[in-house]
Every structure is written in C-alpha cells, then in structure tokens.
C-alpha cells in the first residue's frame, strides 16, 4: 500500500466535508475490494473515509411494502436477517452465495453496488427487484443506476446510504459461480414485482442489465418451456479466462430457467 490518511467520521456531513476537501479521497466500507486493490498498488487514495462509525448505516428495516437495508450492512447480516428471509428470501439466499464466509462478514451492500463489479451478485437483486438507491443527495431508480463497467449513476462525492427493496410477489435468484473466486459468472434474478415481471442478469455483461427477451417470453407464459426457444446474443457479453461469451449466453438461459423452476414455473 501507499501511504494514506485515515478518517473515521461519525456523520454523513463530515464524510461529505472530507470528500470535498480531498480530491483523491475514497470511501472505505468493508474493504473487501478496496484494500486488496491498494495492497496490489493499483489504487492510491490520499485519504480513506471509513463509514463504520456512522449511525444508521447498518440497519435493516421493514417499511411495510419494502425493506430498507443500510449501505454498511454486511452480506452475512442480510443472509441471516429474519426480516429479509421473511420478506424476500431470494435476497437472503443471494447474499449467502457471495464469496466465502470471510468476505460475507466484511463486505457490504453499499460497497458492492458502488463498486458495481460486473461479476457481483447484488446488482441483479437491485435491478431485478426494482429497488431504489438512496444516496446522501437523492434517490436513484435501479433502472437508472448501473451505467457500465464499474460505472454507476453515483456522482463525485455521492455515497450510497441505503437501498430500498420493494417486496416482490415472488422472486428467485440462480447463480453460476466462478469456481475460483465464487463471484457470478452468470447470475439471474427473476421477480414478479408490482411494476411487472423483471429479469436481471449479472456477470454476463459490463454491468447488470435486464434481459428483456426473457421478460417478454415469461410474460406470455411463466414456464421454463417459454425459455426454450430463446437464444441470447453473445456479441456484447464478457469473454475471459473463466467463460467465453458463448458459454455465458448459454448460462443465462440455464440460470433463468432454474430461477423460474424454483418459482414453480
């Protein structure tokens, strides 16, 4: 690591102030992405602003038609939460499929979606469940949030405060994990929400996206059979050491099918 200054503010206002004063400052959540990057000397922040002392960022609450999860809530806490398990079991399962126990004990919802790694799981839930991202400045609809490879709608000095997940009628997540890292090679969230049927795909493209062909097909008939004829276009999909774009295209169909069959389709 390069040298940096460490801050542990206790309010969001202080965070904003420190960020405003230091161009090269970075927010530190669980450190699961940021610290390895710094250790490998691929990032050189001048300042780290640790969010762990700020009240209210680690809460999970049931707001009636939605559940709201603070940015600093760890994956293990989402996985183990009664509230989440009751309202959106698919989300608890998704959290429980992330990485390994150490990562789940440190990694956070806010860190995950701020980073928007193309292979991360939460974006599929955020998009698939039509969640709303609350920041220190505004609310962002899921459909407007994921912009590209490691790119989101967050502006400079804007930070995720919480995510509001509307309770779906039903939802299921199916993931094909990378055997080495356990990140998603492909993950698909299928959900019936108040705003309609949504199918969100992570792992396959530059960032999470909605698979509109699958949504249309399932809209006609919610069954695995409906997926049979659909073949995904591999052209824009990720192609790397772990999976070719062709294989990823195929896995989208398989994972969507698994989620659908979990939901009885």
């Amino acid at each position: 690591m390069y040298e940096f200054n460490y801050h542990r503010p206790t309010s969001l206002e202080d965070v904003s102030e420190i960020l405003a004063a230091n161009d090269e400052a970075k927010i530190l959540a669980g450190g699961m992405t940021l610290l390895p990057t710094m250790k490998m000397r691929l990032a050189q922040p001048s300042d780290l602003v640790d969010l762990s002392a700020i009240d209210g960022l680690s809460d999970i609450s049931d707001t009636g038609d939605a559940i709201e999860i603070g940015a600093m809530v760890r994956h293990a806490d989402v996985a183990g939460s009664d509230i989440v398990q009751n309202a959106i079991p698919a989300l608890a399962e998704l959290a429980n499929s992330i990485g390994d126990a150490q990562v789940r004990n440190r990694g956070t919802l806010g860190g995950s979606i701020a980073n928007s790694d193309p292979a991360s799981d939460y974006p599929a839930a955020v998009l698939g469940l039509d969640a709303v991202i609350k920041t220190n400045k505004r609310e962002i609809a899921a459909d407007d949030y994921f912009k590209g490879l490691f790119e989101t709608a967050l502006e400079a000095n804007e930070l995720v405060v919480s995510v509001k997940f509307p309770k779906p009628k039903k939802a299921a997540y199916a993931k094909f994990p990378n055997p080495a890292s356990r990140y998603a090679v492909v993950g698909v969230m299928v959900a019936e929400t108040d705003s309609g049927l949504r199918v969100a795909v992570t792992g396959a493209g530059a960032c999470a996206y909605r698979a509109t062909e699958i949504e249309a097909a399932l809209g006609k008939s919610f069954s695995t059979d409906a997926l049979a004829g659909i073949s995904m276009d591999a052209a824009d999909l990720n192609d790397d050491l772990h999976a070719s774009s062709e294989y990823r295209a195929h896995l989208i169909g398989v994972m969507a099918g698994r989620a659908v069959s979990t939901l009885g389709g």
């Binding site: 490998m40 094909f176 080495a180 195929h250």
Partner: protein, 788 residues
C-alpha cells in the same frame, strides 16, 4: 504392537503448536537490526535491459542499499546450479544456460529477478522498488511448447537451437517397432498434462544473516532440504564453505516439491546481508509466488499402444515434449526423464517400450517437481491410453488391466524402462477398490442420476510410482549430481529420553510423530520422551531432505539402522550390568533381560550407565549412547494402487461433481495409518485439482493470466466428497521397515481416474477425449460439438 509404536494411529505431536498458532515459520523469525528486501521483477517475458537506473531508489527514505545483477556479477557470484544432468540420445550434454540470481542484461520470464532493494521497513522497500527505472527492449517470446517448437521461433537461449534443452530416449526402439509390426491393433492418444502452480499455503521466505564477527552466515529458508541448499548455494553460487554456512528450515507450511529447489532469493539475501552487514529478510507475497515458485507438469505427448488380438500389450511408444521454463530449476531436467519415462511400464507387462522426451525452453517460470513429479504424467498418459484401448478392443477396462498386470509371482520384475519392481499385488488392490467403491452396483447409481437429468460416470486407474530415488551410484549414472542417501542420529540422553536428528525435513508430513513411533518401537521409550530434530544444518547430520515420498523409506530406515546400533550397544552395557553375555540379552518393551531369567535392567538405567560410567566396561566400550547411520537404499520402493472415481455431470452447464472417490493403495508397511490417510486425502485433492480445476495459463506474449487465486482455481472442501481409502500391504523387500512411501500417490493415481470417469459419463455422446482441467465450459463445449 508396542503402544504408540509402528502401526498405531497416534495423534500428531506437531499439531499442538500448529493449531495453537505457535508454529515458527521463517516469516515469524525476526533478527535484530534486520532489513527488508523487496525484489524488482521483470514485467516482460523476454526483454533486453537497456538501462537500469537505481539512484532515485537508493535515495528514497529508509533505503539502505539497492543491488542489481551487475553488482552480484562483479562480486563474482555464480549462477544457480542444476542438480541433474541429462544426456541427449546423440551423446551430447543438455543445454545448460546460466542462471544468475539477479538477471544480467536479459530477462527471460515474467517474474525474473532484476534488482533488490533493502530498506528499514517492507513498506519503504516497496515504495523504493517503484523508483527503479528499467528501460527494456521488448523481445519476442515463446510461452508454450508449440510456440517454442515452431519453425523460426524466437530462441530463449542462443545455444539451445530449436529451444531444445535435450532430446533424450529410453527403451529399445527396434524391439518396440517389432512389437508394433506384429500388433493386431494399435491404439493412440494425444495427451496434454496441464501446467500447475503448487501454491503451498506458506509463501517462500528467506532471511540471510551474516555475522561479521565470525565471518559466518546463517540462512533461514522455507526449504524441504536445508543441507541441499547449503551445498548448492555455498559451493556453486556464493563460494561459502560448509563450516561457515548454516541453513535453517524451521516450520515450513507445505512444499509439494516447490520448496526443494535452490532459489535466487536465498542467494540474494545471504549475499546482501554481508554487503550491508545486517540481516536481510525477504518474504514472497502470493502474487510473487505465482511468478517465482517453480511450476509443475506441462507435458504434451503422443502415445501408441500395440495390442495382440486378445488385448495383450505388446509395445508402447511415447513421444513427449516437456516444458522446462526459461531456466533449469534444480531438478527440472530429471522430472520429465528419469522420474517420468522410467514409469511408463506402469503396472503392466508390456515387453517393449520406447520413449523419446524433448525438454524445451520457453519464456516462462522454470518447471520442476510438483507432488508426484513425472509419475503423475506417466500414469495419466498410460491409464488414459489403456482406457481408450478398452474402448477400441471392446474389452472391459478392468479385465484389460488385469490381463496385463505383472502377477505377484513374477516379482522381482525388470521393466523395459530401467526399473526393477520388487513386489506388488495389483489384482488385490483392484479387488479392494472395487468392493469399497461398490462398483457392482454402479449401473443402478447411473440410472438414479439419469432420473435427475445427470450423467454419471465411473473411472478406474491403477498406478505405480517409484519413491526414494536410489541407490546413489545408479542415480549418479543417470545424471544425479548428488547422493540420495539419508542420515539419522539417535542421541539417548542420560535419563533415557531420546533426541533424534534426521536429515529428512517435515513440512506437513508428520515426521515428528512417525519417527518418534519408530523410536518407541525399537527402544520401548515412551512416545512423549522422544523428540525429533530436523531442518537445521548446525544440528542434524548431512541429509538430503524430503521429497519423492522418501522420508520413511530412506530417512526412516536410516533412523532404524541407527536405532539398531543403539540396541546393540545397549545389550553390551546391560550384559555388563547383569554380568551376562551380550548374546543372552533380550531387548524388549524398554527392558533388557537375561534370556530365561527374571534378571533385567530398564533401558533408562542402561542410558544412565552409559553417561555415568562408574560401573561400565570402559576398557571395551566407549561411554555415551549416541549413534548415527547413513542409509543408501538398494533400490527404489514401488507403491502402487487402484483409484476409482465416480462423477456426476450436469449436461446443462457442464459442471463435473466428484460424487465418490475410492483409493486402495499399497504403501508397504504402515507406520501411522491416520497420517497415511491424511497424505492420501491431500494427494487425491491435488489430483482432483489437476483434473478439474487447476490450470496455469500464459498468453502468447508470456504474461501469466492465472496469476492470482481469483483466476487460478484450487480445489476446496466443498468440491470434494468424503474419500474412501484403504490399504493393501505387500512389504517392501529391501528395507528393514518394509515401507514404500505414501506422500505422492494420491496425486498420481487420481487425475486419470477422474478423467476416465468424466469420459465414461459422456459416453452417450461418443466423447472419448477430455483435456485437464475438465472445466464446466470444456465439458459443455464437448457436449455441444457432439450434439450439433
């Protein structure tokens, strides 16, 4: 059986300190006034160093010194030596390029050492390393065997045309041709043995500590064989005589072969320590391990088997190219030759065998021994070929193997590829494995899997390996540049406790337990009153260390021989104390008794008499009770066995799940069954890793793509079933313990069993080939190609 003696499943003495975090690994050691070394490594696979500017680094805060290859060369530092010479078929010696610890002028692989920074802290050294400016001419590189062998390929070394290090052969080419000429059928196969990275849990580390007062050096290093390092580094690289150089390998967290070799960093820290007159510590981080620890395997082979009408093997012809990397690692050339091609007979009576092996240079990390070293490559090739032969001939794969096994009454058996097997019973191992695997009911299980949409397959492999390379004179004739004996000293302390000093080195194998069991067995001394000392050239006699499953078969036997000397001398002392003749003294259960009487002395009293020789035959016997034995075995030992794997494949994704794994192994006599089982579990896990998960990938320019745990997939507990393991014992005929060795067997028999199972599972698609690792995508692609 003596309590805690041979055959007892005694819990490991060493585990208390490991489990409670009290192990002392090299990185746990800190010397007063120590500096930290960080090494600048080449980012290029092949490049000419046009300029190397270190002034800014030298001026950086906390930096004490910066050294380059030019500095070491100017000081007369030698190159890292190769410990095994191979002679090509035409009689010429192998190409043996120089290997300076820090590169001079040209870098030859990503990770090649370029310069070293010594600083007060590791962070300061890391910061400063980035200030070194190197201007390279990027030269064309070859990263694979195919690229290295291509017409007009760039050369790794000018004096190795065609990038060939050696072109070696073994066996009788004419007899093999004749066998093929009369064959009823010929089966062939193309085999790639995938390149692996050992990834021991503990990264390598080294501390050089020069004492200017005494002009003596100590090197603490993560080595499997401290005496070998002392000899190689002292004599060939730094010119330090043995009595001035102490090498200590304390607790070492796994080696799997990768810590046998003498590495540049050991020489760098030892040499640098003298330059600055301060201790110098270097510890690899994981990323560094990936590009600086020797890699394993990486063979490409074509093999043909000639069979008679009824499936008798008549001849075997093998052509192998082996990737040696950019430089010759310590035993690199021995692995694809002496440790590989000599095993091509396997468990079979193939009368004529010929193998040609070309060792090739590439711009990659040096390749050397990794768990099994050559033998996994041989067993994989042979057992895939035999399975294919079964398919082609229509003979059941188990029946085909049985038909060709060397039978128990045919030992000793001289193979056509140099080895003489002493003993074995391959049918018995197969019988045991089949039973334990419930092989007869496989069809039912396959149906049950099919009802869930899964493809189930079963694969069998037999294997043989050769452990404890020996005898030294034969190894020498085959190119070894060192002896291959082992040494053990038994020091009985005055009150009867025992300290053992062994040249073997434990880095996970449990010697502190198994060797203590031997002492308990031989002397009747309580297990807790024995301690095993290893890993320090200042304490233990000159020994060759631990690799090739040699510790019990060579080190254990040396210890037994020293114990026998103790027993003999103890009888003489007891004879004096009991006023009897030594021939009449029986030494049993810690007591020395005059045969046929109740007159006896305890072993502890004998020990006391030896050190307080008031009542002692001083005119005929030296006082003290300490004996050393050096043991050079008459032959290799030949563990063998049968592994059976069952897999279930998800045809939608190609995921292969190992649902059961059975190993029936013949390791000769077993000292500690629990430890043996653990060794098998570890070996099988690494074998499954090679077969399904692990793959070292370089791109065409020689960049390592699988350079982290995020990309290089090691098997984890949730990838594995519970293993069913058993043993079948035929005791080794030529050592007093009857032991053969068990450390590598799992990694040798497993890969072909797994891949045979995968191919079997895919049989409905007529797929008869599957490269390792059988990743989900590869399996899925194979199914796609077969169905489209």
């Amino acid at each position: 059986m003596t309590e805690n003696g041979i055959g007892a499943a005694v819990r490991r003495k060493e585990d208390h300190r490991f489990i409670t975090g009290k192990g002392q690994y090299v990185d746990d050691i800190n010397r007063p006034n120590q500096l930290y070394a960080v090494i600048l490594r080449s980012p290029l696979a092949h490049g000419k160093i046009k300029s190397l500017e270190t002034d800014a680094a030298k001026a950086a805060p906390g930096v004490v010194a910066v050294f380059t290859g030019a500095d070491m060369a100017a000081a007369g530092v030698g190159g890292l030596p190769c410990g095994w010479g191979i002679t090509s078929s035409d009689g010429s010696p192998m190409a043996e390029p120089g290997h300076p610890p820090l590169a001079v002028d040209v870098v030859h692989h990503v990770g090649d050492q370029v310069a070293v920074v010594l600083a007060e802290t590791k962070a300061a050294a890391r910061d400063a390393v980035e200030l070194i400016e190197v201007d390279y001419d990027d030269l064309p590189a070859v990263a694979s065997l195919d690229a290295a062998g291509a017409e007009g390929a760039p050369l790794v070394w000018d004096d190795a045309p065609g990038n060939i290090c050696f072109d070696w052969e073994i066996g009788d080419a004419a007899a093999t041709d004749a066998a093929f000429a009369k064959a009823a059928q010929v089966v062939s196969i193309d085999i790639v043995n995938n390149r692996l990275i050992a990834n021991a849990m503990e990264p390598r580390a080294a501390i050089g500590d020069y004492d200017s007062g005494k002009d003596e050096y100590t090197l603490f290093t993560t080595s499997q064989n401290p005496h070998v390092i002392r000899m190689l580094m002292g004599a060939f690289v730094l010119g330090i005589p043995e009595h001035k150089l102490r090498v200590v390998s304390p607790d070492v967290g796994g080696g799997f072969g990768s810590k046998i070799f003498h590495y540049a960093e050991e020489a760098i820290v030892t040499w640098a320590s003298k330059q600055v007159d301060r201790p110098v510590k270097w510890t690899a981080d994981r990323s560094e391990s990936f590009i600086s620890d020797a890699h394993g395997r990486d063979h490409v082979s074509h093999a043909e088997l000639a069979l008679s009408e009824d499936g008798e093997f008549l001849g075997l012809r093998v052509d192998t190219r082996a990737n040696l990397g950019a430089y010759l690692s310590t035993f690199g050339p021995a692995v694809p030759t002496i440790l590989y091609a000599t095993l091509l007979a396997g468990t079979y009576k193939t009368p004529a065998i010929h193998a040609r092996v070309r060792g090739m240079f590439t711009h990659t990390v040096p390749v050397d021994a990794y768990r099994g070293a050559g033998r996994p490559e041989a067993s994989y090739l042979l057992e895939r070929l035999v399975d294919r032969a079964a398919k082609v001939t229509g003979i059941d794969p188990i029946e085909l193997r049985r038909r060709n096994f060397i039978k128990p009454d045919e030992f000793p058996y001289q193979t056509p590829v140099a080895l003489e097997y002493d003993i074995g019973d391959y049918d018995a191992a197969v019988d045991k494995a089949l039973e334990l695997a419930d092989y007869d009911n496989f069809a039912q299980r396959r149906e049950e899997s099919a009802s869930r949409g899964k493809l189930r397959g079963v694969g069998i492999a037999t294997y043989i390996e050769a452990c404890g390379i020996a005898p030294s004179n034969v190894a020498g004739a085959l190119g070894a540049r060192a002896g291959l004996y082992e040494a053990g000293t038994v020091r009985v302390n005055p009150t009867g406790s025992v300290s053992v000093f062994t040249g073997s080195h434990s880095h996970g194998q449990g010697h502190e337990t198994t060797f203590a069991q031997l002492v308990t067995e031989a002397l009747g001394v309580d297990f807790d009153n024995v301690s095993i000392v290893h890993g320090d050239t200042a304490k233990v006699p000159f020994g060759m260390g631990t690799y090739g499953s040699r510790s019990a078969a060579v080190g254990g036997v040396a210890l037994m021989n020293a114990l026998e000397k103790i027993r003999t001398k103890s009888r003489k002392i007891a004879a004096h104390l009991l006023e009897a003749s030594a021939e009449d003294i029986e030494f049993k259960d810690g007591k020395l008794t005059v045969v046929g009487t109740d007159r006896s002395v305890a072993f502890g009293d004998v020990a006391m008499a030896a050190y307080v020789p008031h009542n002692y035959p001083l005119d005929t016997l030296e006082p003290g009770l300490e004996e050393t034995a050096f043991y050079d075995p008459k032959n290799f030992t030949f563990p063998a066995g049968c592994h059976i794997c069952e897999v279930e494949i998800d045809p939608d994704t190609g995921v292969v799940d190992v649902v059961s794994f059975t190993a029936a192994d013949d390791f000769g006599r077993i000292i500690n069954p629990m430890i043996v089982e653990g060794q098998v579990h570890g070996g099988v896990t690494q074998g499954i890793g090679q077969a399904l998960y692990e793959q070292c990938v370089y791109d065409d320019s020689g960049q390592l793509l699988s350079g982290s745990m995020m990309d290089y997939c090691l098997p984890r507990a949730d990838n594995l079933p519970n293993f069913a393991v058993t043993t079948n014992v035929t005791p080794c005929t030529h050592n007093v313990l009857g032991v053969k060795g068990c450390g590598e067997a799992g990694a040798i028999g497993t890969p072909p069993a797994v891949i045979n199972a995968v191919v079997n599972a895919l049989s409905e698609y007529k797929i008869d080939d599957m490269p390792m690792p059988a990743t989900p995508e590869r399996v899925w692609q194979a199914i796609q190609s077969a169905t489209n």
